[in-house]
């Protein structure tokens, strides 16, 4: 039986008020199941950032319902959403966005710490993730000493650290060349399968799609299959 990790029902996000409103998301329906790796494509300005922010519980939708791991995020306040993101959602950002003053291992330990994981447990988990992603040898380096691909691998590890239900990746390959970008996406896909989680990747790079289970296009505020 497959369970839905993310369900978006009739989600609308409207900016502005009065006469000049702009619906970036317009009654959008979307579902991601366990073990699924979905890519969302769209030209710039199509609302990819809004889509990701809304799905990732950073932005409340104007209308519609969003369930993550079976839990509705509609009536949570800001602090509850923060707590929810910490435990249920993993993020990968453009350019990895690691904290420049934390060593590789500390990047992972930090997110475990704010999630109040015990330190021995988090040490174990970070070692496991870093080894599997092939950056264990680099654990005592600062991000400035890492290549772009290595940084994104650390970002993958960090996103998985707290065992989230779903991972959102915002253009993870934007600053990488094709070869390294491919590696990162491949690893992301492997992790989704191995951990039985789900992931949504927003990208405009059509070469990265071969490991994705589904590819959707964001157009006029809804997601279309092609």
């Amino acid at each position: 039986m497959t369970t839905a990790k993310l369900v978006m029902k009739q989600v609308t996000k409207t900016y502005g008020d009065g006469d000049s409103t702009l619906s970036v998301l317009n009654k959008l329906d979307f579902q991601v199941n366990e073990g699924e790796f979905v890519a969302v494509l769209g030209p710039s300005g199509s609302g990819k950032s809004t889509f990701l922010s809304t799905a990732g519980a950073l932005l409340s939708p104007t209308n519609g319902e969003i369930l993550i791991d079976g839990e509705s995020i509609a009536d949570k306040n800001k602090a509850e959403l923060t707590e929810f993101r910490l435990h249920k959602i993993g993020f990968m950002f453009q350019n990895a966005q690691l904290l420049p003053y934390l060593k590789v291992e500390e990047q992972l330990l930090f997110v475990a710490k704010i999630a109040k994981l015990s330190s021995s447990e988090s040490k174990k988990r970070s070692a496991y993730l870093l080894k599997r992603l092939g950056i264990w040898e680099r654990r005592n380096h600062y991000p400035e000493k890492l290549s772009g691909g290595e940084k994104q691998r650390v970002a993958i590890a960090r996103a998985w650290m707290n065992n989230p239900a779903i991972l959102f990746a915002d253009e993870p390959t934007a600053s990488l060349d094709f070869k390294r970008g491919k590696e990162v996406v491949q690893m992301l896909a492997d992790e989704v399968k191995r951990e039985g989680k789900a992931a949504v990747m927003v990208t405009h790079d059509e070469r990265m799609l071969e490991w994705c289970d589904r590819v959707l296009y964001l157009q006029d505020g809804i997601l279309l299959e092609r």
């Binding site: 003053y101 999630a115 960090r158």
Partner: protein, 372 residues
């Protein structure tokens, strides 16, 4: 503090610089505070150390001791209210003395007091004098630095009257000059040139009456007596010539230093915080609470200000040891604690705009950003 500490570790040079600035500012704050306290003490210690808490002065003297003149009938009125032993007259006069056999000339203030009364000098070395003693004085220990010893003979420059130093008192200065305690009998001779027969405990006219009274008694003194002002010890000290001006300018320096340290920190942390806006966005998107980030900033400020304060306290301690004895410098523990906590408090106030900035950063900034 996980983030705060690691950030300090990573950007050592940056935070070391701000620490040096705070170290210098806090050192200066402590030093000027010590100087202000020392100068104040050197100025008014004779009044501050008096056990009396109220002073009765002539009504039109504008609280200035030396301008005031009272007489026996005033003393009687005051004593009727507070009791004999709680009110004692004090006369004072500034003068210059020279010492026989010594090449010394010093400005002093003569205090004529009842040697059996509440403000009689507390001799720390040598002999006490009584109201019957003739030609002896008790002087402030500061005169020892000019070579005056017990048994030295000093003479008043104006009248030529010679007096023998019978003993020393400590910490008795008035208007930056050492106090010379003299009894009523010798005072008469000093001021009128006539040696009076027989002992008396006070001259016929004097400058003020020092009173030990409760606040109720002080009120009834003020209400019951015509033509006099009843002032507190604080008011008396504030009206000593030069005291307010001297303390005022030093206090202004201290206040400015506090403000400067707050502003320097505010600007430094604000610039750093602005630089890290996108990092804060990322952290919030990942689920870091705003309060955690705010405490992280406050923690850094606290750590920097407290550690630079500790170093400057050590420096002040070292400096106190090498300062010459004549340097008026005084820092007691309550003042140290007050100054230190004020410094840390101002630092925290300075960091508040950074905390507000952190609170305002939206997690949304994390998505769709290309820049680092």
């Amino acid at each position: 503090m996980f983030l705060a500490m690691r950030e300090l570790r990573h950007s050592k040079a940056r935070y070391a610089l701000i620490m040096v600035i705070m170290l210098l500012v806090s050192f200066l704050v402590l030093f000027v505070t010590g100087l202000a306290k020392g100068l104040a003490y050197a100025n008014i210690s004779a009044i501050e150390n008096m056990p009396t808490n109220y002073y009765v002065v002539q009504g039109d003297a504008e609280h200035k001791f030396r301008r005031s003149q009272l007489n026996d009938s005033n003393l009687k009125d005051v004593r009727a209210i507070v009791g004999n032993e709680n009110a004692t007259p004090l006369s004072m006069q500034m003068s210059t003395i020279t010492a026989t056999d010594l090449d010394v000339k010093a400005d002093v203030t003569f205090f004529a007091v009842d040697m059996a009364g509440p403000i009689a000098p507390k001799v720390v070395q040598g002999a006490e004098i009584s109201n019957d003693t003739v030609g002896s004085v008790i002087v402030d220990r500061k005169l020892e630095e000019s070579g005056i010893k017990i048994g030295s003979v000093i003479s008043d420059q104006q009248t030529g009257m010679t007096l023998k130093v019978a003993g020393f008192v400590e910490d008795n200065s008035y208007s930056h000059t050492p106090v010379v305690y003299i009894n009523a009998h010798d005072w008469q001779e000093l001021t009128t040139g006539v040696s009076q027969k027989g002992a008396t405990d006070h001259p016929a006219s004097f400058n003020l009456i020092a009173v030990h009274a409760t606040s109720d008694q002080a009120t009834s003194l003020q209400e019951g007596l015509k033509g006099v002002d009843v002032i507190t010890q604080k008011e008396a000290i504030a009206s000593i010539p030069g005291y307010s001006e001297e303390q005022g300018s030093l206090l202004m320096m201290i206040a400015f230093l506090f403000v400067i340290s707050a502003v320097v920190l505010a600007v430094f942390f604000y610039v750093i915080t602005i630089q890290k806006t996108s990092q804060f966005g990322i952290l919030k998107a990942m689920g870091t609470k705003t309060s955690y980030l705010a405490w992280s900033v406050l923690g850094q400020v606290l750590l920097l200000s407290v550690s630079s304060l500790v170093v400057s306290l050590l420096m002040i301690g070292g400096m106190k040891m090498i300062l010459p004895e004549s340097m008026p410098f005084q820092l007691n523990t309550p003042t140290l604690i007050l100054t230190s906590s004020l410094f840390v408090g101002m630092s925290l106030i300075g960091s508040l705009i950074s905390v507000l900035k952190v609170a305002k950063v939206d997690a949304l900034e994390a998505i769709g950003r290309v820049g680092a």
